[in-house]
C-alpha cells in the first residue's frame, strides 16, 4: 500500500508486527485510493452536502433559534420515550485472554467480544475472562459451554451454564443450570460463585460438534462470596446460601423413577460415615466436575450431598458399600474400578472404554495410556499388562471385543 508522502514512513515491521499480521491487516483494509481520489471525494462530498434535499437544507430551515430549541425539545422528548419503550441493545462482554468460541448456527467462530444475545459460547483450551459492561466477570474453564442473555431487569444478565465449570463474580449476573436459577442476594458487589455441570472436567481440546447440555444430575453451585438464593423453576423449592455453602441437584430414586431434588452439599467426614453405618440410607453416588458425591436421605424426604475428598474416596466407598444397597453397590463398583486401576486414575488416563452386556453379564473394559487393560465383570476387577494379555486370559469374554480393543 502506498502513501503519497512516503518519505516519512517507518517500516511497520519494526513495531513488532510480523509479516503475516501486516499482510492480513492490509488485505482487510484494501488498497490505498489513488492520488487523485482525494480531490474526487472532496468535490463529490461538497456537492452532495450542498445539493437540494441534503440535510443541510433542513438545517437552514431550522436556522431560527426558537425553532431549533423547539426541535431540540421535541427530539429529547421522543428520545426519552424511545428509551423507555425500547429494549436497549444487547450489551457486550469483552473477552480477556484467549478468545472464546461463538456458535454461528453451523460452526464455532473465535470471538473477542460477545453480546448478551443468548448465543452459545464455548471455552476451548486457554484462560479467559468475560468482562461485562459493569465489571462483572465470568471465567469459564476449558470445556465449558454457556450462554449470556439480558436479564429481566435493566443492567442485569442471565448466564446459562450448559456444561462445564465457570466462576462468576458480580451482583448483576443471574446464573441458571438446568431448571435451577441462582440469584445474587443484594447488590453489595461481593457475589462470587462456582458453577459445575457435568461429569469429569473436560479438557476443552476441541469444541463439540454443536452446543450440548450436560446432564442436570449433580449440577452444583458453591457460593464463595456474598449470598444467593438457589431456586428450582419446576418445583419452586429454594435454598439460601451464604459464603462457603453449596447446593446441588441430587438424584433420588432408581431407574426410570429417578427424580432430582435440590439439596445442600457438605463434605464427607467420619460423622457422615457413622450415619451411613448406623442406617442412614445412601441413595446415590455420582461424579461431578471430577469430584465424587454421595447422596444421603434423612428419612424425612430431604436429601443431602457430601463431596468426598479425593484422598478419601476408597474409605468413603467402603463405608457406602457396607450399607449394602444394591444400587449404591453398583455405583461404588464403578468407582472401585477407578480407585483400583491407578490409585487415583483420572479420565485422562483412559484411552478407550467399552461397555457390553453379554448374556447375563455386564462387561466393562478400560484401556489405559500405559497400555494396561482393566476388565470389570461379575463384580470383579482384573488388570492385564496389554490387550493381548487380556484377550489371552479371557478369550471367551473378550473375543467379541477384539476389533474394538485393537490399537488404532
Amino acid at each position: 500500500m502506498t502513501n503519497a508522502d512516503g518519505d516519512h514512513r517507518t517500516p511497520p515491521l519494526a513495531d513488532g508486527c510480523d509479516a503475516r499480521t501486516l499482510i492480513a491487516l492490509r488485505a482487510a483494509s484494501g488498497p490505498a485510493p489513488d492520488d487523485d481520489a482525494a480531490a474526487r471525494i472532496a468535490a463529490g462530498a461538497w456537492r452532495r452536502a450542498r445539493s437540494p434535499g441534503a440535510r443541510s437544507d433542513w438545517r437552514r430551515v431550522l436556522r431560527g433559534r426558537a425553532l431549533r430549541a423547539a426541535a431540540a425539545v421535541l427530539v429529547v422528548a421522543v428520545g426519552s420515550l424511545g428509551v423507555f419503550a425500547l429494549d436497549p441493545p444487547a450489551a457486550a462482554f469483552a473477552v480477556e485472554g484467549a478468545p472464546i468460541q461463538m456458535w454461528k448456527g453451523d460452526r464455532w467462530v473465535a470471538a473477542r467480544r460477545v453480546h448478551a444475545d443468548d448465543t452459545a459460547l464455548y471455552a476451548a483450551e486457554g484462560v479467559r475472562t468475560l468482562r461485562g459492561p459493569d465489571g462483572a466477570t465470568i471465567v469459564p474453564q476449558p470445556g465449558t459451554t454457556l450462554r449470556i442473555a439480558k436479564g429481566e431487569t435493566r443492567g442485569t444478565f442471565r448466564v446459562e451454564i450448559l456444561a462445564g465449570t465457570a466462576q462468576v463474580t458480580g451482583p448483576t449476573l443471574f446464573v441458571s443450570m438446568a431448571d435451577v436459577d441462582v440469584a445474587p442476594d443484594g447488590g453489595d458487589g461481593a457475589f462470587r460463585a462456582l458453577f459445575v455441570r457435568g461429569g469429569a472436567a473436560a479438557t476443552g481440546a476441541a469444541p463439540p460438534a454443536f452446543p450440548a447440555s450436560a446432564p442436570a444430575a449433580f449440577a452444583r453451585v458453591q457460593v464463595d462470596g456474598g449470598s444467593a438464593r438457589v431456586r428450582r423453576r419446576s418445583t419452586g423449592e429454594f435454598l439460601d446460601l451464604t459464603a462457603a455453602q453449596s447446593a446441588a441437584l441430587l438424584p433420588v430414586g432408581e431407574g426410570p423413577g429417578v427424580r432430582l431434588q435440590l439439596g445442600r452439599l457438605g463434605t464427607f467426614s467420619t460423622d457422615v460415615a457413622l450415619c451411613i453405618a448406623s442406617g442412614s440410607p445412601v441413595v446415590d453416588v455420582g461424579r461431578t466436575g471430577g469430584d465424587v458425591i454421595a447422596v444421603l436421605g434423612d428419612g424425612g424426604g430431604a436429601v443431602h450431598g457430601f463431596v468426598i475428598d479425593r484422598a478419601e474416596v476408597r474409605f468413603a466407598l467402603d463405608e457406602i458399600n457396607t450399607a449394602m444397597l444394591a444400587r449404591v453397590a453398583r455405583a461404588s463398583i464403578d468407582m472401585q474400578v477407578d480407585v483400583d486401576v491407578a490409585g487415583s486414575v483420572s479420565d485422562d488416563d483412559v484411552t478407550c472404554e467399552i461397555r457390553r452386556t453379554l448374556g447375563d453379564t455386564s462387561l466393562r473394559v478400560l484401556v489405559l495410556r500405559s497400555s494396561d487393560v482393566v476388565v470389570e465383570s461379575d463384580g470383579g476387577v482384573r488388570r492385564y499388562p496389554s490387550v493381548e494379555a487380556a484377550l489371552a486370559a479371557e478369550p471367551e469374554r473378550l473375543g467379541a471385543l477384539r476389533d474394538d480393543l485393537a490399537p488404532r
Binding site: H8, P12, I23, A28, R55, S56, P99
Partner: protein, 223 residues
Amino acid sequence: MTSSALPLPGDGAARPSARAAAHGLRVLPGEAALEVAAPTDAELLARARAGDRGAFGALVGRHHRMLAGLVRQRAGAAAPVEDLLQDVFAKALDKLDGFDGRAAFATWAGAIALNLATDWTRKRSRRSRLAPTSSLGDEEPAHTGGAAPGRALELREEAARARQALDALPLAQRVAVTLRIVEELPYEVVAERVGAPVTTVRTWVSRGLRQVREMLEVTRDER
C-alpha cells in the same frame, strides 16, 4: 509562510510539500528553506465551517486513506469506497456545527464511516436475500495482490479474521492501528490525528496488533 497561505489538496494542483503538510508532516530540507507547520484539523474545520472549500479538501486529503481502510474493514473489498467516502464527508460537512471537538476529527469521522459501511452492508444483504444472484457474482473480491489461488483463499480468510479482530477494538484504537500499520504514519502524526499522547498510541497499536495476531493464530490452529 502562514498555514492559511498553503495550497491544499482539493484545491487542484497541490505541490508535494503542501501535501506533506496537509498530512501533518514537516517539509523536508531541500524542498523548502523553512519548516512549515501544517494547519491542524481544528483550523481546517473552522475554515470549512466558514465555507472554505480548500480547507475541506485538505481535511479530505488528510483523512481519506484511513477512512477508506475503515470502510473496507467493515464492508469488505467489494464496497464502493469512493461513493461511501463522499457520503462520509458530506455527512461530516453537514454535521460540522454539531462537532464539539471533544473527540479527534479522525475518530469522529471514523465513526461515521463505520456506520455508513454497516448500513451499506445491511442493504446489500437485504438485496441479495430478495434477489439472489449467482454465488460467483456475489463473491467478494479480495485484495490479494495476484496471489496464487490457494494462497488467495488463505489470505481472504486471514483478512476476515483481521476484520473480526479490528471490530473488537475501541474506535480510537482501531483508527490508530489503521493509521500506523496500514497508512504507515509516524507515531507522532498518529497521536496528533487521534488526539492522544504518543505513549498511549504506542500501547494501543501494540495491543491491537497482539489481538489481530491472536485471532490469526486461532485460524492457524483450526486448519
